[in-house]
Symmetry: D2
Subunit: 345 residues, 4 copies
């Protein structure tokens, strides 16, 4: 059994890690930390867990977590992880960080959109945890920068097509829609029930911090600098993310080539379900699961390839992919502990 | 492995059975039937199950289901089960019926609120599947009449107190609130999104078919005829049921006695979580689980004992309790296959 | 035209006052105050009003508001109004306060559940603004304590029956359900979308501050001390309140007497719609309106009279009733400015 | 007073017409027809209107409606209007049809996506009722083909820019999101609460019947054949539509030119609110109103102009625009009867 800790266990991503790891056959969940709720039982914060876990939230204690665990998930606002991760790594722990702090290869990109980085030397050591794309590097990594939810939904359909040179990188548009849990558990007007319910809006239009994260990985896949126009929207629901992508096949590329490319790429991937041409995903069908469902269509008048990807933003977009990465790092079956039945209703 | 069939697998209770049984370690799910979707893959109806089950919906075939399975769940509108259950029993199968057809001990009660009964002789043979109350009879039953969702939420808190003579049966009021999935999957104005969303209403006020079902079991517990005033309401959410019960302790009964009675009664029950005095449940905390959470309070001005019970109407109120009953019938651990993590968000 | 100010215009009740008064033919809305948003255009806070009002939120200034307006609505958290209302009254303004500060006749009742009162002498001067019940006193009042939303829904059906001696005051139970806007606009976990959506729960069970407000008016109607057991619940919707009341007719009282009593009482009341026996309201049908819809039923087994009342908690439960009271105070038609079409969807 | 009839008054668009026309100062609403509810009071179908209208739904009777009214709104499924509109016109009535039957200039376009047309000769006589674009023709029209909701949200931002030659018609993408009421009141799985709630999906991807309607008007504006790639999505809310449009400015076009073009075009339009650069609309802010709010942004890396438009699909997307067109036809103020306060919560 692997001794595991979660730093920041009471936010939504942290709690989702608890939910998933509670059923993981190889994990012994030892430590949950929370600044806000230190000293309180986790099941007092999330009463769903009454009788299911006795764990009490602790203040963060680097010594203790290093002594008692082998692998730590950090589910914290960006900028906090970079102050604690180096210590954990130095003590020999593996770390999967769910913030943006270790997602970029070079510090300048991070600093342009976030804050000055305190340990830029770790950025080359960290592996970007998009499991299906960087599986091999993840296996031998000590530190994972777990992808953002939006990038996960944008990158999975596009990376294989860019790598294969099948689409024209000059037209890349991602129109994304996310449930409210993506905004976290801290109360604000943005997440106030009455401000969200029966409403729909765009926000941070072509101005979201996940955009450079996408651009970096897309550029790497195409081996030239690319930019995707990215517009996120807020959906009046708690969970789920659906992204509609507009691009253009390269001139002589056929539909069959696109299909074959995606099928070949995702054939060994248990969590990508290709729906094929003209069948489309819904967030309902991936609710509570680690799946990314992808469907696609050529606009019948021929100009655009439309790809639609759906994930559960808290699972494949956060905690689930983090556990998938842990499985890869430990050499376990990639889907261990991630096979809870879906929750379609 | 027990070979199991679900008759009526594409309604919400049926699909919830699929969801639960897919993860049950002792069950081999062999047959799903559906009149409406015969010939279609279950995962076409519920795309969440793509890649998870290959089962194709079949038309109902008594011979085939008898040949291939040992236990059948019937998740059908009332009146249909009574036309097929006798045949299944005659073929030696165990049957757990989720309709009202086998919930009443005498035919007159059933016929007063439903239809003429075609096999009233089975009513005395059938056991009412309120697992915590009739556990012993369930263990040896061949036919279970699985309780309605409303009765489950009303009876669990009241039966122990009535049996112990701690409350006055003359004041029994249950004000219940249910999510929309209780109305089933067949489209109607009642379940139309725009008619439900941002609205709240009562329906079948003191006139619901589940009322006589409650009255029968309450009377049995108290050993005298009782009636509970029952008012159901529709909540704009998909899942969940919360029932607020108003009653009166017998004159000299103390709070401690009430607490002790409930604690003693539910001590061996893995799926009842007593929250105790002045702590109250929410449907969120039982979402996706087989739990019934119960909290209570004496109105400080002393007149009323208020008991609040929350369940997931599709789990403890339907499919989960049915699986719990199967476990009891088979002599397995009562909670086998019912330990999927909760789904609080 | 009456010059009107709203103190606390950016909370939900305040904004609803703006919405209603914007269309009131006799009102000139002059001043909106807001601590939090002083200096910002109201239409920046509520973009729905872009192009519809030029008003800019001001800090509260007693002198200015007294100089420029004749009547003021105070829509503030309790305890704040009592520090400003005496000054406004002294300057000759009429005041309609939407907080609890002027709802109680004697200070002890208020102080038992809220805070020490700074101007208890005003309590006897203030009139409780339940328009249908205290219409005559309201007409000549200078200060109105506008009722809480819960008390409005509880008192309207019960007061006439208690006054007429038709029901037994010993059994009074109100099971109330409210939309989230009742909790106000200040962000908190209670109003966080993900904590509310797809969930239902009770709160402050038999322990809500509105309970003594109800008890006081019920006791006054019955002319003897009464207590109602009151349990509020939170519904995952923004607007609307539905209250289910359980009581008992006096022994020889007939259904016809109950009906006649309610019909006679509410005959002159434009905002109470009696649905009669066995027809029940929904919050949808009163959405956006000042109506209180009331339906009722005798439990067929005879013990309980069940009355169900629905209001829009922000209209009849707050801003609408406040405007209705203003109309009465000014000698205008009671429904002036309150006739916007309903908003059923 | 203009005598008005609504044919198909109990669908959502029809009921919204009732809601708006009930407050229109120049309209006398005389006749409501409904096949399904003939003989029933409108307020039985929509209890919100109890006490507000005495109108009883009638079966459709061409003679009677021609005798008693001067102008008729037909709010029916396509194909039905074309069987009754010629008769109404022949009797001298004005007709505003909310279906697709009179939206196309030539029958072939209609027939390619709908059905054979029974009176193609009327298509050249009918005026497309996009009020802001075809105001002058609408004023003198006898028959209006009222636009679909999706086309309204797509065309308003694009038509001025295409007419002015400021954008490149080769890149036109509209990613649209609609509330459920757009699917109508007839129950189906698509509108079942439990199938919609907490889910988000695309549908009819680049395959929606509103696409050719958009293409026709866009092509007319640009004076050359254009095609927009259009993907509609279903949002778990009742009302509201938001469309995100991606296009490309012509090479040397400046941001100032785009702004000036839109401002000049919409200056005389009371129902278009331009939010300007980098401010974006929400459906909440137009809820219950006839407004179309439009905001825009150049992707900072320069490639795309992103325009976002929000409307209430039942108002500006259906009934409200129909009333606006009636006002234009009658020579009244364009916004008469359309000034009910917004309903932001």
């Amino acid at each position: 059994m692997l001794a595991v800790g979660i730093v920041g266990a009471t936010g939504y991503a942290g709690a989702e890690l608890v939910r998933i790891l509670a059923g993981h056959p190889q994990v012994d969940l030892r430590i949950l930390t929370s600044r806000q709720y230190a000293g309180q039982a986790f099941s007092d914060i999330y009463p769903a867990f009454q009788g299911l876990t006795e764990l009490v939230c602790q203040p963060y204690d680097s010594q203790r977590i290093s002594a008692e665990t082998d692998l730590v998930f950090t589910a914290l606002p960006h900028q906090i992880p970079m102050s604690i991760v180096p210590g954990l790594l130095a003590n020999g722990l593996r770390v999967i960080d769910l913030s943006a702090d270790y997602r970029f290869e070079n510090a300048a990109d991070y600093e342009a959109h976030y804050e000055p980085h305190q340990n830029p030397e770790l950025l080359t050591k960290a592996v970007y945890g998009l499991s299906e794309v960087y599986r091999d590097s993840i296996k031998s990594a000590q530190l994972i920068g777990n992808p953002g939810c939006y990038p996960t939904s944008v990158l999975l359909p596009l990376v294989p097509l860019l790598k294969a040179g099948l689409i024209d990188g000059r037209l890349l548009i991602a129109d994304a829609k996310s449930g409210v849990s993506g905004a976290g558990r801290t109360p604000s007007l943005v997440t106030h029930f009455c401000e969200v319910h029966e409403s729909f809006k765009a926000y941070k239009v072509a101005d979201h911090r996940h955009n450079p994260e996408m651009d970096a990985i897309l550029s790497k896949a195409a081996d030239r600098p690319l930019h995707i126009s990215f517009v996120p929207h807020l959906v009046p629901m708690s969970r789920g993310m659906l992204t509609t992508i507009y691009t253009q096949p390269q001139p002589s590329v056929t539909a069959a080539q696109i299909d074959e490319c995606l099928q070949a790429y995702f054939d060994p991937c248990p969590f990508v379900r290709l729906l094929g041409w003209d069948r489309f995903p819904s967030t309902r069908a991936v609710r509570g699961t680690n799946y990314c469902d992808i469907g696609y269509r050529l606009d019948p008048r021929g100009k655009h390839l439309i790809l639609i990807a759906a994930i559960d933003n808290l699972v494949k977009g956060a905690a689930g992919q983090a556990v998938q990465n842990m499985n890869l790092m430990m050499g376990w079956d990639e889907s261990m502990g991630l096979d809870a039945p879906p929750f379609p209703l």
